[in-house]
Amino acid sequence: MNIASKGDDAGGTANSSGDTVVSANSVEKTYDSILPFTRSVEVLDGATLHVERGQVVGIMGENGSGKSTLMGILAGVLDHDAGEVERAGSIGWCPQEPRLYDRLTVDETFQLFGTAYGMSDDEIVDARAWLTDVLDFERFRDRQIRHLSGGNRQKVNLSVALMHEPDLLLLDEPYTGFDWETFLAFWDLTEELRARGVGVAIISHIINERDRFDVVYELHEGHLHRQEIGDDDGLSSEPTDDDVACERTASFIDEAGAGSGQRATAGQEESE
């Protein structure tokens, strides 16, 4: 395994490696089992991706295509078999399933993770006030995580990733369970972060939201296929980096373009 990670300390500051906050080059990942007669599953086969400062990147793909695995590798919580991952600056990671301590309250969760990020008590209080206000869960602050609804738990999950104002945000279906108002608030927040220069990578099933992204990657058969989103939605099936053509990408984005008049709600998305 070849790993070249910079700024592993999540509380660290961005280094001077240019505008790229995370880059993955030719990343490979296979899930093996030590048990006999079980098959290996090759998930990533030369996946290549770059996220720049102030860029909002979407990662899409069918269920089981390896999006969450890719996100785990980008975050540094999963090993990869080959390839390089380089990170610059502090990371905020919001996993698909809220990884929180069920018997702690919302306030205690902020306190614990804020301490982990190296924030002072005052900074933790400020971050908590900001996020509970923006995402509208201030009234649940003294409630234990296990007693929160799925949507509110997801708000805490997202807040833990955001509270230290990282240089890179890795969000795995962050709006699962959000109501419409919170869904819109999330995108307002994302715009605010983009303006601050935060690089954001989001796994999403909501194809119709593709206009909100600067770049969309589709993960298909282990490869990432890049699509720039701009005024001219010219479509290309050519992958930019891994030299593996994918005709499916063009049709995938075509379908998205054709359906762009329909707006999916956060609740309609399908969990992987």
Partner: protein, 244 residues
């Protein structure tokens, strides 16, 4: 201790406090297992092998002394299992957020240690209602070593086997180890039973319960066993929560 460690230990203790089933077990199991045995056994003397010598001890005293490590082993194993089950999913996120491996290991070992001290105290308090150990401090120390041994085992088993398998193993293994193979009433225990987790600690415990002498080798063996398990536990825990 640094700020991260104290915060994590404080939060870990709060999580324990908010687990009613665990708290109920803490009160119920010592009273049930130790108390019930003491009440049920006949008021006679039984021959037991203590420090290699066959001696007669009152059955009620024996029941109280013998069921104390059984209770502590079961409860400590469950505490270790609970600790890892409630924290494992989020611990790698905490590592990513800035906790070093040392911060996290010290935090979890600290929380586990506090839990085992409480378990030991609860069990010893019930036991001393029924009998007075010949050497109280060594008795408590040996009981604590049994708890630490099984607490660490609970952590390792919880990581390797998960919740359901882990609960079965942590209920079953103290029964086999302490109740069957370390039983002073039994004779001619196979040599390999000396390798079982509670062998040295229970020997030290029975010495302390019924003699005024302290067997340094048994205490030493128990400490070495506990430290060895702790090293294994730390490695398994580190592997389970490792981030790049």
């Amino acid at each position: 201790m640094n700020r991260r460690v104290t915060t994590a230990v404080r939060m870990g203790v709060r999580e324990f406090r908010r687990t009613p089933v665990l708290l109920a077990l803490l009160v119920f199991l010592p009273a049930y297992i130790i108390g019930a045995f003491v009440l049920l056994v006949p008021d006679v003397d039984v021959p037991a092998t203590i420090d290699g010598t066959r001696v007669a001890v009152p059955m009620t005293d024996f029941a109280a002394a013998f069921m104390t490590p059984v209770t502590v082993a079961i409860l400590s194993g469950i505490v270790g299992l609970f600790l890892v089950q409630t924290s494992q999913a989020a611990d790698d996120r905490l590592r990513l957020a800035g906790y070093t491996a040392t911060d996290l290991v010290v935090s979890r070992v600290g929380t586990l240690g506090l839990g085992i001290v409480v378990v030991t105290m609860a069990s010893v308090v019930v036991a001393v209602f029924a009998f007075t150990p010949e050497s109280t401090v060594p008795f408590v120390a040996a009981t604590l070593l049994v708890g630490l041994t099984y607490g660490i085992l609970g952590v390792v088993v919880g990581i390797v086997l998960g919740r359901l398998g882990g609960v079965y193993v942590m209920l079953f293994s103290p029964m086999v180890d302490v109740l069957l193979f370390q039983n002073p009433l039994a004779t001619d225990a196979p040599e390999w039973t000396k390798l079982l987790p509670s062998h040295y600690a229970t020997n030290a415990l029975f010495d302390a319960a019924f003699t005024s002498s302290i067997d340094v080798w048994d205490f030493g063996g128990a400490v070495v066993y506990t430290v060895g398990l702790l090293v294994i536990g730390v490695l398994v825990f580190y592997q389970a929560t490792d981030v790049e």
